[in-house]
């Protein structure tokens, strides 16, 4: 019994993930590749008495190492040296898909070609002679349809047979790159072989090609290994580059690509026969695009689809969310009954169950959101959304795909930034993704809505609907403007090219969508059990300790004993609660911040509420209520608090406006920050917390003073 590692490579949209799922079943786990946020999927299976590790490489068109995905895929092949690579190809676009296959062959890894989507090929009337392709490429070729698992067994068998036969030996393919490059390449190969330069890992000729292509990753590794030789190779590449630029008006990397395509075209001619009189084979997809990306209809349909996603998520998702809330409510009650009164009970009920429950409560929303986004992604529609919106978003330094996270986060008031931040995965370009991540939480999420409603109801009772609309629009404007500023400062740089494939529309498979949804949901749920549990406990402690000294407690106990009426008792309870809150760490922070926060018109009570809002924006209203000593207050019915706020001479209309602005822009809630860190890095998440809060404070001060001057 041997153990083999099989890599699964392929273009985006070629059905690679479906194939991976078909081959591994449920035995797979998802992580990130070390150091990068590219998804790593690994599955372990047994076949023919061997134990196999299947690694799903990121989808790439090439192995040029320009994107993270390409670098990950290439480094995996070079460093891990899998016994076999299965290249899953969209047989319907064989020519372009062979471009990646040829590069893998040039590296020399034993390769099996899976001609996937053969059903579409047959439907279009095209014929592929796979035996001929196998002969020309020297690779085993298996026809498959991953969606219904036809041919997947045979593909795995072919890969195993090759693994047993080759035993890890590589045999690179040599392509001619024309009269200008070939002599230089031969000379380079000779020099590289002589000095055993990097030859323990990759073929000598391959290294030469990479020097001609000016591949930074290889050149840097080369300089470290043998500076003198590397310098010589670089000089040779530069010289031949200058020559080809003069004579052919092209750099070597372009020539190399041309010759690879030439090599492929030579094979394709013998392998694929197109039906006569079949101009538009992807015609059904084309017809759909005529409507779905139409100048007027396209955007309208898109709005409809966005509205539908939104509606389904928050109306259907609300039902299981209610069950979860009930469950955690029951759990809290049970714990309250079982445990004796004291810190332990408070910790378990208020800290752990409420904290973790609050996070797990989002799970149904996330599930439904991803269910629909996955289906849209698999169907090919997301690419069209990006296509239609790219022009507008480009003005602000974003990418067409940024619209989805915006909407999900509350672009139409009431979303949630957590699935929104996770939806930035659909952005393949790192710079635009960072900018989108940063501004996405500005949207009016469901937790901010009660805050805004309470404040508008209190201070603008005449036209609260207009103010709410204004808030939503301001959020969009701020998000786009800040994105623009970020893209011209911290994450400056050319916009990522929008050279993108529009895959033909396909019916998503239920299995693919479910696996996708499950992976993302599980990843989120796992967090609730670890990091967030710790933070919940910390926040609980900050709002609980230190407690009032015994003499104060005695003082209130005496007052209570002397109280005549129910009202008096309530009043005493309230002032005790206020003093207790003010005395805790959170309360002290609130008081300490007062001299600064006064600039924006916030008193210590508001400070505590906003500090609590770092954990979750939901607590702003309830904490404010507690701090205004009204005791427990239902978030939904914020009326008494708003009356109280209006009566407070310290809290003016200007303060209310400043508070709205601050709540809109300041640090995302803790769950969002963790999610953000997972999607980018902890330092970026930290920058978002500090940067957004600073911006929020500056804007709050500005609006406080402007509003104060005019009102």
């Amino acid at each position: 019994m041997a153990s083999y590692t099989l890599g699964i490579a392929g273009n985006p949209n070629c059905g690679k993930t479906t194939m991976f799922n078909a081959l591994t079943g449920a035995r797979q786990h998802v992580a990130n590749w070390p150091g990068v946020t590219v998804e790593k999927k690994v599955g372990h299976i047994e076949a023919r008495g061997h134990s196999l590790e299947l690694v799903d490489l990121p989808g790439t068109y090439s192995l040029t190492a320009y994107t993270q995905e390409e670098l990950v895929a290439r480094n995996f092949l070079v460093d891990e040296r899998p016994e076999v690579v299965i290249d899953v190809m969209n047989a319907d676009a064989l020519e372009r898909n062979l471009y990646l296959a040829v590069q893998i062959m040039e590296l020399g890894v034993p390769l099996v070609l899976g001609l996937n989507m053969m059903d579409e090929v047959r439907k279009s009337g095209k014929a592929i002679d796979s035996a001929r392709l196998s002969k020309l490429t020297g690779c085993a070729v298996v026809e498959t349809v991953a969606r219904n698992e036809s041919g997947t067994r045979e593909l795995l068998d072919a890969a195993l047979a090759l693994a047993e036969e080759k035993k890890g030996a590589w045999s690179p393919l040599n392509i001619s790159y024309g009269p200008d490059l070939d002599p230089v390449l031969d000379e380079m190969t000779r020099m590289i072989t002589e000095e055993n330069f990097l030859t323990d890992r990759v073929p000598a000729r391959w290294t030469g090609i990479k020097y001609l292509e000016r591949d930074e990753d290889v050149v840097i590794k080369g300089r470290l290994a043998n500076t003198a030789l590397s310098d010589k190779l670089e000089a040779m590449a530069k010289e031949v580059g200058a020559h080809t630029q003069k004579t052919l008006n092209a750099q070597p990397d372009a020539l190399i690509a041309d010759h690879r395509y030439g090599f492929i075209a030579g094979m394709i001619k013998d392998v694929v026969s197109y039906p006569v009189l079949d101009e538009d084979r992807i015609s059904r997809s084309d017809q759909m695009d005529k409507v779905l990306t139409h100048t007027v209809l396209g955007p309208l349909i898109m709005l409809g689809i966005i509205y539908l996603i939104y509606k389904v998520t928050f109306s259907v998702g609300e039902i299981p969310m209610g069950w979860l809330e009930m469950f955690f409510g029951w759990l809290g009650d049970t714990a309250t009954n079982i445990l004796p009164e004291g810190h332990l009970r408070s910790l378990v009920v208020s800290g752990i169950i409420d904290g973790v429950g609050g996070v797990l409560g989002f799970v149904p929303l996330i599930m439904f959101m991803f269910l629909m986004i996955s289906a849209l992604e698999d169907s090919g529609y997301i690419a069209r959304m990006a296509y239609m919106l790219d022009r507008i978003f480009k003005i602000f330094g974003l990418h067409g795909t940024s619209v989805l996270p915006f909407i999900v986060s509350g672009g139409i008031a009431g979303g949630c930034a957590v699935p929104g931040v996770m939806a930035t995965r659909t952005l393949r370009s790192p710079k635009e993704k960072l900018a989108t991540l940063f501004v996405t939480p500005y949207m009016t999420c469901g937790a901010k809505v009660p805050v805004f409603l309470m404040l508008t109801a209190a201070f603008f009772p005449e036209n609260s609907a207009t103010v709410m609309l204004g808030i939503t629009l301001t959020a969009w404007a701020m998000a786009l403007i800040v994105a623009r500023i970020l893209r011209s400062t911290v994450i400056r740089g050319e916009s990522t090219p929008f050279v993108m494939e529009l895959p033909p529309y396909r019916m998503p498979t239920l299995r693919g969508v479910l696996i996708h949804t499950w992976e993302r949901t599980w990843e989120y749920a796992k967090k609730a059990g670890t990091v967030i549990l710790g933070i919940s406990i910390l926040i609980w402690a900050m709002m609980t300790f230190p407690q009032l000294p015994q003499e104060r407690l005695d003082h209130y106990a005496q007052l209570r004993a002397a109280a005549q009426t129910e009202e008096q008792t309530t009043e005493i309870d309230n002032s005790e609660a206020e003093e207790a809150v003010r005395n805790t760490i959170a309360g002290r922070i609130g008081t300490a911040l007062e001299p600064v926060s006064e600039l924006a018109g916030f008193n210590w009570r508001v400070n505590i509420a906003l500090t609590g809002g770092f954990a979750a924006k939901e607590v702003i209203v309830s904490t404010l209520a507690t701090a205004y000593s009204l005791g427990e207050l239902d978030v939904e019915e914020a009326q008494p608090l708003s009356e109280r706020l209006v009566k407070d001479p310290q809290f003016t209309v200007a303060s209310a406006i400043a508070l709205i602005v601050f709540t809109m822009l300041y640090a995302p809630c803790f769950v969002t920050v963790v999610t953000m860190a997972r999607e980018s890095s902890w330092s970026w998440a930290a920058f978002s917390v500090v940067g957004s809060t600073t911006l929020a404070f500056a804007m709050a001060i500005l609006s406080y003073h402007v509003a104060g001057a005019f009102l």
Partner: protein, 80 residues
């Protein structure tokens, strides 16, 4: 062979053949990786609602690119 024009100027539904791709670096590689190389036949099949980006049909698939990226590509119209 007809005259060479910039891809940006190409009309919808016009049949084209790519003459040169002058983009270098990341953009150049992305363009070539996706199969836009000299000699390829293609057709502009649509423009986004704001006329940018454009959708381009190659023999076996469709791709999109921005007008600013199309500037690096020259094409020649093909007779039917």
């Amino acid at each position: 062979m007809g005259n060479s024009i910039c891809l940006r100027k190409a009309k919808v539904n016009q049949k084209l053949k790519i003459l040169t791709v002058s983009a270098e670096g990341e953009l150049g590689r992305r363009i070539r990786d996706l199969g836009l190389i000299p000699g390829t036949e293609c057709k502009v099949i649509g423009k986004a609602p704001l006329k940018d980006p454009v959708a381009l049909r190659l023999k076996d698939f469709t791709l999109t690119l921005r007008n600013s990226e199309a500037d690096h590509i020259t094409v020649t119209p093909l007779e039917d």
